[in-house]
Amino acid sequence: MIPGSFAYHRPTSVKEAVSLLAQWGDDGRALAGGHSLIPMMKLRLAMPAHLVDLAGISELKGVQADGNDVVIGAMVTQHELVASELLTAKVPLLRETSLQVADPQVRYVGTIGGNVANGDPGNDMPAVMMCLGASYHVTGQGGESRIAARDFYQGAYFTALETGNVLTAVRIPVPPAGHGYAYEKLKRKIGDYATAAAAVVLTMAGGKVATCSIGLTNVAETPLWAEEAAHILVGSTLDAATVKKAVAAAEAITAPATDARGPAHYRTKMAGVMLTRALARASSRARG
């Protein structure tokens, strides 16, 4: 219940935050919404000597359109994401996913940046970002860079975000108008991490799948981009036989943990079931 001691810093700019994080290295952690980090600190699974609170950095807030992309500040909360008319209009998958994350209190405080940067295989947004082909703006002492979500996740709590760097924004290419989308999440109760979840974005043309992208949550040490499964579906009418093949391809890349949610083989099967249902819902929403 009681965290260990730490020194608290509250920078007012990204530059200052980066400087602090670089200074403290592995002894420092960025604090975003805190609803992943602080519970870990209370169980003493994490004991950073320095916390760098990003809440005072206004550059990290805000949702804007930038050409064909939307750019979401890392400190935008799930609540703000749900309320954003821009995102609801352009990338409705985000709102659908966000409403399945945790509970109202956590959504008021939890940030998109925290959810994508933590590397926790249970977080929902990473697979969604992989599905959308999003990229992350990262700032370090060496300057700014972008890392594709599909290249970001390396292992449980292990990402391409190096020590001393801050994820400042999430950039998402807006899917075409008339796209279909769904985030289908099986969970033991509302707010739980997924037993398995599937994110789908697709477009249809003449009754056939023109483009398709699939992300899977919590069925491996990292979120998964099911490239092969999506590829199988392109050109099909989402007929049962093709969907079955895609499901098999998706199942094949899973390696879930056995935990209280169920044994590994069950969770693999559930990834397939969630994918099937997400495809059905996405296609019912698609126009074309």
Partner: protein
Amino acid sequence: MNDMTPTSAERAAKLEGMGCKRKRVEDIRFVQGKGNYVDDLKLPGMLYGDFTRSPHGHARVKRIDTTKAAAVPGVVAVLTAETLKTVNLAWMPTLAGDVQMVLADGKVLYQNQEVAFVIAEDRYIAADAADLVEVEYEALPVNVDPLKAMAQGAPVIREDIKDKTDGAHGKRKHYNHIFSWQSGDKAATDAAFQKADVTIKEMIVYPRVHPCPLETCQCVASFDKIRGELTLWGTFQAPHVIRTVGSLISKIPEHKIHVIAPDIGGGFGNKVGAYSGYICSIVASIVTGRPVKWTEDRIENLSTTAFARDFWMEAEIACTKDGKVTGLRCYTIADHGAFDACANATKWPAGLFSIITGSYDFPAAHVLVDGVYTNKAPGGVAYRCSFRVTEAAYCIERAMDIMAQKLGMDPAEFRIKNLIRREQFPYTSATGWQYDSGDYHTAMNKAMETVDYKKLREEQKAKRDAFKRGETRELMGIGVAFFTEIVGAGPSRACDILGIAMFDSAEIRIHPTGSGICRLGTKSQGQGHETTYAQIIATELGLPADNIMVEEGNTDTAPYGLGTYGSRSTPVSGAATAMACRKIKAKAQMIAAYMLEVHDDDLEWDVDRFQVKGNPERFKTMTELAWAAYHEVPPGMEPGLEAINYYDPPNFTFPFGAYICVVDIDVDTGATKVRRFYALDDCGTRINPMIIEGQIHGGLTEAFGIAMGQEIHYDDEGNVTTASFMDYFLPTAVETPHWETDWTTTPSPHHPIGAKGVGESPNVGGVPCFSNAVNDAFAFLGSTHIQMPHDHWRTWTAAEKLGLHG
């Protein structure tokens, strides 16, 4: 008398007595955040205690080094078993005749067992220091499987009693054996099985779960060296028992111990017994001379305090081919963890489990229970269990469904055929219980008609056909449970806790101006006693309920009682309340006769007054009589208007109910949706229907959690894997179904107001109803028994085994 005079009914309504939905008195402070819970208490100079706990499930403790911990600035003391031995408190007696380590003495026997107690100026320092106590362990082989506890060569859990063949409840047949207990007639039962046309046998497991009240266990101990007095505030469902036991083990005289249970944030049986934290806080206060507060966090609560169930029941039913039950047999292994810390009455090491014949007329029955030790947390009796009645009800209700399935009979029809009939009451069961009253067939018919049971079965048949044709991937299940439970412990001939008979008490004092105070030996943890006992008094004495203050929990002022658990408050203290009222009423009658200058027998009672028979304009209200009791009593009579009653119930009470639920199971994920849950309860006289309904809602929600996902799970290494809210399934408002409640009223003939108690019924009846529904969904495919909990993966696995995933 004229048109302006209020009628009897109007006067009665104003009193807000029994039967009305009186709004709760305690709510006024709770909705304003002004409850008074243990952790709200701050005393000058107060210190905080925290535990260092074992990561191992079974290990020798080779060495404990408290130097680093003691050196942390702000740490005042560190206790280990060595310290406690100097005051003979390294071990404490349990409520079940066993002994339990307060702090690890040479060994640890379950994960998170207490090893050292750090006392510091604030809770943050205590937490830091608890991490710095260095313990050297030597791991030992672990056993968490109760079915393997009595195997040859099984790890010895209790070295302290290894060679003792005499246990607290008779002979021990193995070093990990605790007791054997049996009830019923073995010979008659064996004969019934030999002759039977049809029998079933099934291992029915009720997994280990935990009552998990929202407030964890806590206390503040304050020993006054000058006076030699101990004051102990705590989450105590049985404050007087804590005082007596505390005196016996600490040797502080009982009159110098003040135990106070303030507002408690839920108990559900988790807060009956004494925990290490209480003992260590008391010792710490004595040692430091300052008050010491101990609060546990949730993981500590779930992994070390009174768990519930863990009963492995092999049940058998013998039956005629046309569906009349002839015999019931059950052999149970009861996993008590490392110490038998069950809160059971002395003579009942397996509680009231022999209620297992339930609502059915079994001519013969025999039950045998073997309790065993494993490397798990101690306990067993908790969570609205009525002393193992939840286990018994689950067993019989599942077994009846399994037998109905074998006979090809509808589960409701099979029950109706075997329900005890109204004319058989008072009914003596094959295990010797005398059920006080019941009208089961009326209740069952009402339930079935209300849900249109016949139509549900028709719908189910159509859905099953559709499933077979591949038109749906959902299976519909209908769960039926007709439970009888046994509460109100209990008659002194049968029930005692560590030798103290299980009576209970009410002391009522009426003030000159006609209001009053009632103090009782029970202790509410949310059941609304401040509201309901006043309703009894209002009806009995004709004084407005709002004029009666109800107090519980302070052992200096409350008459002795055994506390609140097992739905005993209404049956026992509710009876004491009525009896004390009647003593007061008898005295008031004499005063009234004196004032009205008539004979006692010339008076009759009407709602709130004694009036002269045939001359009702001549009356004295109870309010007037209260004043008179202090102003001018008849010659020779003592002034004042008060009475106390210690009630030794002549029998238990037997609430019952008919529950029916409908579920729809998604075969491809194993997720179950509860479509409808109808609960009909008969708790005898209903004191406050609003509070009864609230108890049912809460108990059904607990039952839902238990049946659909709760488990305190240990892996083979003794790690408890479900000890936080990340995994222990507590439903939110989203998952929790809508509850429909209904009732019949069959008063208890032996209870002064006919009331039976109701708090535990919904957990007793709810769990089998849910479990029967899930099992029923798959029964047409040949499945006989799927074990709880019915979480997604287990239900899916059952479907997989039946070949439903193609």
